[in-house]
Amino acid sequence: MSAQKVDAVWWLIFMAWLIAMASTLTSLFFSEVMMLEPCVLCWYQRICLFPLAVILLVGLYPLDNHVIKYALPFAIAGLGFTLYHIALFYGFIPEGLKPCTQGIPCDDDSMVLFGFLPIPLLSLAAFSAIIGLLLAAKPRIQT
């Protein structure tokens, strides 16, 4: 295993962890500082996101290549919930299928930051980037 390859894998996983950690803190900022109540779909995405910040960190030092195998299912499940959330948010899914009609709506204006940035899009960017980085790291691992 060449030192350079190890380095590349480490950096890719490190970047994935960085994104997971930043997203976790951002999501906590929304709920704990701005006091926005997370809707049901947001909760499912958080359930997939929060463990990534921990698993990837543990896998980074010392580098454990298996971390990709354990992290990917969370990231992919998170992406799935995000896509469903986006479909709901932009109205691709009809009213009747909404899982969160009671309580906190998943598709109202409180989901939009600074007037233009919907939270589901942030989630989409984060999960896609994490999956991309992990998939990029995978073939570089030498067994």
């Binding site: 480490w10 490190f14 960085l18 950690m21 930043a22 803190l25 906590l28 900022f29 704990e32 500082v33 701005m34 960190l57 980074l60 030092y61 580098l63």
Partner: protein, 218 residues
Amino acid sequence: MNQKTIMITTALLMLMLFGGAAYMYHANQVVEKTKLVSINSAALEQFHSPRLGNPQAKVTIVEFMDPACEACSAFHGLVKQTLKTYDGKVKLVIRYAPFHQGSDKAVEILEAARKLGKFSEVLDLMYGTQHGWASHHNPQPELIWQYLAHYQFDVAALKRNIDKDATARLIAIDLADANTLQVNKTPTFFVNGKPLPSFGYQQFQKLVADEVAAAYGQ
């Protein structure tokens, strides 16, 4: 720089960034909230609002409350103590924000008590027996009557003075004002129009003390 250092530095940086952003956001919120209240100061008090303490007092505490709210009950002792400590200098204006399902029934009883001049006493009783009639966010205001009877209040007179429609109108006005002032939790206090910087006993005591000092001099 080795990998461990990079990781730890990054994690610390992110946590510091989070703390800093939280602090700045919070400071900005207090400013925004104060501004919102000063623009909508007419929504703080209404003619119909129950008042306790000296009407001429220069310091006004506005409390948005719910008789079934546990934090309101926990705060009630301190609020009364504050009125006593700054006797004549502080008055309390009560606004109804019955967010709990069914606590509007408790407000009806309070309003009936007000007509009989027993507002303060019945409010004390409601908060004091709240664990019995409103435990676990499940108010059963009909139980209040048993407590009122037990403590020898004139239940018949209170029942005669229940006015559902009038109380519903008062609650609607108070809830509209709560909405204007972005009050969504009880108790919410405004002292001379200023919101608490954050929720807590000390913050409340300090804000009242500061306002009394500003109004009456040290």
